[in-house]
């Protein structure tokens, strides 16, 4: 795997807010078809890191590469255009819109000809394609226009992830996607993540729910106080050792 080009790479990223050093020399490579867990205690720098990757803010120093090319984000739009989709904590769908409208939100398909130039939407084909895209990652919804309000929490999250997957070319960042979900609903979301991996996407999975992280990831990066303290294959962790690394207790006991 190390011989192939990383789909995404960070080199020595530093970020501070005033006197608070949020990220210190963060570097890692990520490959297509890899699910990476990003864990850490509150204030460890997870949010700062995903905001840097998704272009919500820019790093003070350090480089960011997508497909081997160095990139600089001026806004989240730039990272989206480069094929990086970010799903923020349970708020990425407009509940009153249909599933199809949500999947295509911000990237609507226009009708052909003059009507399209005037901004008229091709709703039928959007609804159809949206269902097909969701089907690809194993989310099956009945045809017909349904609003997201009519879906359960787990289904909404599945649709939100399905939406992100259908637009992402390289990386999808999932911030606490199983938060507030029951066990069965979480299982559905985890299966969608596995489907994304099978499609060759790199998934960055941020979660406090360690069993979920251990179940679905190939590799886990542990952040503490803005630094990467461990970056190893998932098979080398147990819940206890992972917890110890996150809190720093395992080092103190050495």
């Amino acid at each position: 795997m190390s011989e192939t080009q990383p789909v995404f790479e960070l080199r020595n990223i530093n970020k501070s807010y005033g006197s608070v050093q949020a990220l210190t020399d963060v570097s890692f490579k990520a490959y297509a078809g890899e699910v990476i867990g990003l864990v850490g205690d509150n204030g460890a720098g997870k949010s700062s890191l995903i905001k840097t990757i998704s272009g919500v803010h820019t790093q003070d120093s350090g480089q960011l590469f997508v497909d081997g090319v160095e990139r600089h984000w001026k806004s989240p739009h730039d990272s989206m255009a480069a094929g990086i989709e970010t799903l923020y904590q349970d708020s990425s769908l407009a509940p009153d819109l249909t599933i199809g409208s949500n999947v295509f939100l911000g990237r609507e398909k226009k009708r052909k000809g003059l009507l399209g130039k005037l901004g008229f939407l091709d709703q039928k084909s959007m609804e159809k394609e949206a269902l097909a895209e969701l089907e690809k990652v194993g989310i099956s919804v009945p045809a017909g226009r349904r609003t997201v309000t009519e879906l359960s929490g787990g289904q909404r999250q599945a649709v939100a992830i399905g939406r992100a997957i259908s637009w992402a070319k390289h990386v999808i960042i999932l911030d606490e996607p199983t938060n507030h979900l029951g066990a069965r609903q979480s299982a559905e979301v985890l299966k969608v993540i596995k489907a994304a991996k099978e499609q060759g996407l790199c998934v960055l999975f941020i979660s406090h729910t360690l069993p979920h992280v251990l179940e679905v990831t190939d590799r886990i990066i542990v952040l503490r106080l803005g630094k990467i303290v461990r970056d190893s294959p998932t098979s080398e962790y147990t819940v206890e050792s992972l917890l110890g690394t996150i809190t720093g207790l395992s080092e103190m006991s050495k």
Partner: protein, 344 residues
Amino acid sequence: MSTSVKERATSAEFAAPSLGSRLKGMLFNQQTVLFLVLLALVVYFGARNSLFFSQNEFANLITDFCGLVLLAIAETYVIISGGIDLAVGSTGAIASVITAGWLNTFQTHHMNNAELLLLGTLFCAVIGAIAGAVSAVLITKFNLVPFVATLVTYSAGAGLALVISNGAPVGYNPAATIWSSSGVFVFSWLSIIIIAIAVILGLVLHLTSYGRYNFAIGSNEFAARAAGINVKRHVASVYVIAGVLAGLTGMFFYIRSGSAAATTGVTNSANLEAIAAVVIGGASLTGGVGRWAGTFLGCAVLTVVTDGLIFINVPPTWNQVIVAALIAVATVLQVVRPGKRRTS
């Protein structure tokens, strides 16, 4: 492995709604109910007083409807986007009062009637846009909540309209009414234009990306922003459009009566009538939910009630009480109907 994922997701939760619940949904559909209510009202008023079915009265209804519908559609856009606009009435008033005064001075400058009226329409639209822009700046630049921002615009507009007009009709021009007296059947040219604008706004709301963003922002502003929609720009544009529509309504009343006044025509309380039409039409004040057809029917119901009460000899002072009952019934219906679209 992928098949097992699919099996899981197709389980009962995603099952299509049953035929029974669909029928119920259709029956409780706000537009269907409103249409039936409208029909019942028309039949009732007509049965009590056959003059209600006269061509004259129909023409009156159309005209009254046109004085409300653009304000209500403006309010529909704003409310679906998650805001509220208290200023549509007073914006119409200030636009018509200023324009009427200007047109009076232009009248002496060898302009014919049609040129004057077109110029007046432009003036009204621009003044409306400026008033809307004030609300838009207060909301998007200074982060005032729409209620407060448009309360500012409302008070300023209402006050200025009174100051400028001195409380009396401004710019009497009987020739202006010519556009509202000729036309096709009971429709004056003026009302045909107003209804055409209303229909176009309906198409834009439900069939274009602009309308889609309006719903998305009202439904979940964060999601809209995350999807790359320029939320501030869109919200600002909605208030400017509402201002333009209010201005055009001001011009409508000027043409209809041949003069403008701060106390008749588009009055300051027209904003509440517009909001009532939108609420009766089924839109949610929390944003993201609403239909153009609902507002359109809501305007028709309000117009028919206002006019019809006169025909059955109920003092017009009762009008507001009846409107209150309509709003109460319409909103209660929204809460109890199946498949309600409430977001928590």
